[in-house]
Symmetry: C2
Subunit: 167 residues, 2 copies
């Protein structure tokens, strides 16, 4: 008790300073970067965030099942399901049955889908680069390492994941 000068009536001291609170700052930053990215994939290509992730994943892996799309529970399976349906309807993704396990289906980009991928990806990378341009290469490495550490720890503290956000 009796810290410093003020022991007045009801002079409530702030316990949390939002601007310095790590989770808050992480969310602001993540939100801003998402916003910057959305200009590309949403405004210019009509892709939702989950759709963008599906496109990128298929561009990266050639063929995956819907479940593989959410390795660590970052996206909900219902979210993936709806994103894939939308992409299929637009002719950007095709499904082929997996004969070994007929519960799941293989997903792949169509030529149109790949075309979009090849149009969006470089621009997304450009945004990332512009973001990182304010950091030195050394700082970038440090940042990556810190994010890794924190993510591992956050995965321990969070329930069983499934968050949502964007990329």
């Amino acid at each position: 008790m009796a810290t410093g000068s003020a022991a007045k009536k009801s002079e409530p001291e702030p316990l949390v300073i939002l601007e310095q609170f790590l989770p808050y700052r992480l969310n602001v930053l993540a939100g801003l970067t998402s916003s910057a990215l959305a200009q590309i994939y949403a405004d210019r290509f009509g892709l939702s965030i989950p759709a963008w992730r599906v496109i990128v994943t298929l561009g990266q892996y050639e063929a995956r099942t819907a479940r593989d799309m959410a390795p660590d529970g970052v996206m909900h399976k219902s979210t993936v399901s709806r994103a894939v349906s939308a992409l299929e309807k637009r002719g950007l993704v095709v499904r082929r049955p997996n004969l070994d396990d007929r519960r799941e289906e293989w997903l792949a980009l169509t030529p149109d889908g790949r075309a979009i991928y090849e149009a969006v990806a470089p621009e997304a990378l450009a945004v990332e680069e512009r973001l990182l341009s304010v950091l030195t290469p050394q700082e970038q490495k440090t940042l990556a390492a810190l994010i890794d550490k924190l993510t591992r720890q956050a995965r321990v503290l969070a329930p069983q994941s499934a968050e949502e956000g964007d990329s």
Copy 2:
């Protein structure tokens, strides 16, 4: 062209590696920390993310208008409006008209609201601390600086903000 070995038929190389893509990783991390925090303010106190932010802000500043609640456009004004309504209905926040400008109203915590604030805040800080416990004090300072730099830059790249996430 002719990079390395493969110039096969249609051997599409991945352009973006999601797991290394900064915006993605930031969103995963932010989502996980939100998830960890939500255990506290949502599950235990029935607060939504915006409600939590309103409570913290009022705990910090004593009295603010609804508009002050979203300084940099982090929350939408409609989001704030609904959060305040909900909190008022629960008797955690009161409004008092601002006679100088009757378009806006002053918001403040009720005793009940402050009680909740004083119960939640320490726990939220504890989560933050557990998160940061995997970093040395030096790393924590570095992290804060990097987040600052990136946030400033992201604010330049993003349209005029308004993202959403949580704290």
